[in-house]
């Protein structure tokens, strides 16, 4: 479980996140949604410690993460996996080496055991016969899946996904969403997904935090979101003309 209390973050004196409080539970996919520039990525990067926060608390179970030193954070980070918006695969390494990297860095397994784990993770995300390809030889969807394989290589307790569907076609996006949901349930991970894709919201939004202009604006799940009377949320959810028509026609 991850708990955020009264988080405040600014850049050059300009507030980007104000008074954000939320709890993310394990075993379900927790979504952070909002318009571009609303502060979603800053929130996610603050939660994982890539940004230092000015005020508030970030708890991982019973550990106050934002007050830990580098070594303390390193321990928690060994239980994190993260999927970045652009996949962030290491260009100079092959698919196999990318997934192998955290295993080589943080485990004392034998080479055989490590390769076995790499193949297991790659199979789990449906990447077959691509071990020796470089990231530049992969499609966008394959890159995301390899990045997920790398993120789960160390059996993380916490999985973070920043815009996992950006740049993907709708069918591949649904596959990636389904994969994240399956893995979350399978390993009882606390998963936080940043997205502004409404398809994702309706597919995997078991818990949804909507932020607007750096503030928490609404909290609920995919069943509540269509019936909310929050105007800002409705402007976001029913932004496209098809959704607007369906809403006005009562469907």
């Amino acid at each position: 479980m991850i708990k955020v209390s009264n988080l405040y973050k600014s850049f050059n004196g300009k507030p980007v996140l104000e008074d954000i409080s939320v709890t993310f539970k394990p075993g379900i996919t927790n979504l952070i949604i909002g318009r571009s520039g609303s502060g979603k990525t800053v929130l996610l990067k603050s939660i994982v410690g890539l940004h230092d926060i000015e005020a508030g608390e970030i708890w991982y179970e019973n550990t106050l993460f934002n007050k830990l030193n580098f070594v303390g954070k390193k321990l928690i980070r060994s239980e994190m996996g993260m999927l970045f918006q652009g996949s962030a695969l290491f260009d100079s390494l092959t698919v196999e080496q990318n997934v192998l990297f955290p295993l080589e860095m943080f485990t004392d397994k034998t080479q055989e055991e490590k390769i076995e784990r790499v193949n297991f993770c790659l199979n789990r995300v449906d990447i077959i016969n691509a071990n020796h390809l470089f990231p530049s030889e992969l499609s966008g969807g394959m890159k995301k899946r390899v990045a997920i394989a790398r993120a789960i290589a160390l059996n993380p307790k916490y999985l973070f996904c920043d815009e996992p569907n950006s740049g993907l076609d709708p069918i591949t996006a649904i596959l990636i969403d389904a994969l994240i949901k399956e893995l979350t349930e399978e390993y009882s991970m606390t998963t936080i997904v940043n997205t502004h894709d409404m398809n994702s919201v309706m597919e995997i939004g078991e818990k949804i935090l909507f932020i607007s202009d750096g503030r928490k604006c609404w909290e609920g799940n995919k069943n509540d979101i269509l019936n909310s009377d929050n105007e800002t949320l409705n402007d976001f959810v029913f932004a496209n003309s098809l959704a607007k028509k369906l809403r006005t026609s009562g469907k």
Partner: protein, 247 residues
């Protein structure tokens, strides 16, 4: 002034991170071997070509400026030797390497920063500064002196070829010149300078790349800054080290 001081502070904070204990030394070793190839072995070609032609030009210019019979001919060989040892193989070669490996380091690390690969390392709990920069530092600190020695030998060889083929000096005179009044300390002086310059090139370029923000344009700018700042610092430290080591 405040911006300069804050940048200087950031530079030293980065160095502190770079020199912290490695997570898994065996991975750092592999990375260092890779950097020996990318930053060291791959630079031999350019050093050989430039040293050869610089040695040749130094020989010809010395010959055409010392045509007066009171100057012994062997001074041409001596001039070529000392120019290559004292200045060219360390300072001029460092300026060339600042362009080649400095821009390479800044753009590689900068691209990793803007494509979130450095964030990915940090999330895994890896000390990204140390993992990315320390192997490059070790590789250049150990390999650039080798490049300097190669530069000296090839430069003098280039001078001998140019001098004898053009007929401005005989082979015997040139070889006598390069042996005449040889001071071994000059080689030590040159190697000490090279080590300082290698540190400047690698750390300044890595600093520019590591703290880049934005996109590809900013990576390009960081790469240019890396070359410019490294070159200026090399010239500055050349004066300081010359005064300290030769006075």
């Amino acid at each position: 002034m405040i911006k300069f001081l804050s940048q200087l502070g950031l530079y030293f904070i980065l160095l502190k991170k770079v020199f912290s204990k490695p997570e898994k030394p065996v991975l750092y070793y592999k990375q260092t071997m890779r950097e020996f190839v990318y930053l060291g072995l791959n630079s031999i070609g350019i050093i050989v070509i430039i040293s050869f032609f610089m040695g040749a030009v130094i020989t010809l210019q010395t010959a055409y400026n010392t045509e007066n019979p009171i100057y012994p001919k062997y001074l041409i060989g001596l001039g070529c030797r000392d120019s290559m040892i004292l200045e060219f193989s360390s300072t001029v070669a460092a300026l060339i390497l600042a362009g080649k490996i400095g821009s390479n380091i800044a753009s590689e690390i900068g691209t990793m920063r803007v494509t979130e690969q450095i964030d990915a390392l940090e999330i895994m709990g890896v000390n990204s500064a140390s993992y990315l920069i320390l192997p490059k530092l070790i590789a250049t600190l150990f390999f650039n002196p080798v490049l300097t020695l190669v530069g000296i030998v090839v430069g003098i060889f280039g001078g001998w070829i140019a001098g004898t083929l053009s007929g401005v000096i005989t082979s015997e005179n040139f070889i006598y010149g390069i042996q005449y009044a040889f001071i071994p300390y000059y080689i030590v002086y040159s190697l000490i300078k090279t080590v300082f310059f290698a540190f400047i090139i690698t750390s300044v370029s890595a600093f520019q790349g590591y703290y880049v923000t934005g996109g590809s344009l900013d990576v390009g700018r960081a790469s240019t800054k890396a070359v410019v700042y490294s070159s200026i610092l090399i010239l500055l430290f050349n004066v300081i080290l010359t005064q300290v080591l030769l006075s």
